[in-house]
Amino acid sequence: MASLDTGDGGGHKKGPGVKKAKKLSTRVDMTPMVDLGFLLITFFIFTATVTTPKAMDLNMPKDPEKKDEEMLTKQSGALTVMLGKNDKVYYYEGQLKEDASNFQTTTFKGIRDVIIKKKKDVVAAYNPSAPASAKCESEAGKDEKKLRDCKSQDMFVVIKPDPECTYKNAVDILDEMTINQVNRYALVKISDVETQLIKATEKAGGQ
């Protein structure tokens, strides 16, 4: 006869032949769940995009309509950087000499020091009493950052990428301008004299 086991066992005799209901554990084996959880975690870690692309601004100047509209830069503050193939960088300060004695070769690691040194020189040569400096300083007022920029306002970097250089090189050098806070720079077409000089240097270097 089916009856509920009241548990008191009052009227029942305990002993052999009396079946006892098996106590089931309320615990669940969580191992498969953990397995699945970590499988999904690994999947999402791998698909997650680690670096989201960022945008870098590039402003190009308008084509000057007349020749005399072209910006004139001070000789002392000009630095011309040329990008060659195999990540080589060539540079000269001021104007290129006839005998090309100031034409130098470096790498992307070295160019930063060149820019830093040039900037230091420009700041050292800063003349606060010159009319241009006075104008800049009065415009800057008390803004410390602007005042610092005034000191290096004569600094101008001309970037001339050779047809052999890569897009990465161009972005790297533009980035170098941001890193070293050079405010005035321009991307300019390379001249024939410069391409020939680069070719000659490459030959001499056995490349």
């Binding site: 945008a55 870098m56 972005v171």
Partner: protein, 220 residues
């Protein structure tokens, strides 16, 4: 004398906290992951210290791949009517005689990397077939026949009055003349401001930018 009984310990561990943590991390990754639309052309952008986010709307991508091929990619976020207006603009400007069906086909997958002369044949294919075709890229290096110029012009007309942004997404291995060709095409259309797509890196220690970040200057 009763012997000391060592209590029998269960080898079972309570896994509940473990599961809790696992699912917490899991939910974090699910939330943080952005499902990215598969890119038609794979490019590895160069690194830069720039930290600006990419605009999504009113943006047109000019992609340069590692073989110096140029593609024009108009994200679908721009809206179908804009994309249709671009293709119809270029159709009338260059007299391509594209059919309405071909233009609709373009609006479905708005990515092109072929000279204008091949555009008709390309757009007659189905989407799946089009994905398989190896496109030669839009010609840009020839200064007399810079076809990207027409595309940029068509896009500018379509977005007239809006703030259309041109994004240049170059592969780091692509050569400079291709990039120059792209810039020339934009310049001919009087576009002087572009965004270069890069992946971010930190400013190297000891440089001026690093110092000003430490000082907390505002960086433009």
């Amino acid at each position: 004398m009763p012997s000391v009984k060592i209590a029998k310990k269960s080898t079972d561990t309570d896994m509940t906290p473990f599961v809790d943590i696992a699912f917490l991390i899991l939910s974090f990754f699910i939330m943080a992951t952005k499902i990215k639309a598969p890119e038609p052309i794979r490019t590895t952008p160069p690194h830069s210290v720039s930290s600006k986010d990419l605009p999504v709307k009113e943006a047109i991508y000019i992609v340069i791949d590692d073989q110096n091929r140029v593609f024009l990619n108009i994200p679908v976020e721009n809206g179908t009517d804009k994309i249709k207006s671009i293709i119809s603009n270029i159709n009338t400007a260059r007299g391509l005689n594209l059919t309405a069906a071909q233009m609709d086909n373009f609006a479905k997958v708005p990515m092109v990397g072929a000279p204008l002369s091949q555009l008709g044949t390309l757009l007659s294919l189905s989407d799946a077939q089009r994905a398989k075709v190896i496109q030669p890229g839009i010609p840009v290096t020839d200064t007399l026949n810079n076809e990207l110029e027409w595309w940029v012009g068509a896009a500018r007309t379509a977005f007239a009055g809006g703030k259309l942004k041109f994004m240049i997404k170059g592969d780091e291995k692509s050569k400079f003349p291709t990039f120059e060709g792209v810039v020339n095409a934009l310049r001919k259309n009087e576009e002087y401001k572009y965004f270069l797509v890069t992946s971010q890196e930190q400013a190297p220690a000891g440089t001026e930018m690093y110092n000003s970040q430490q000082r907390g200057d505002k960086v433009q």
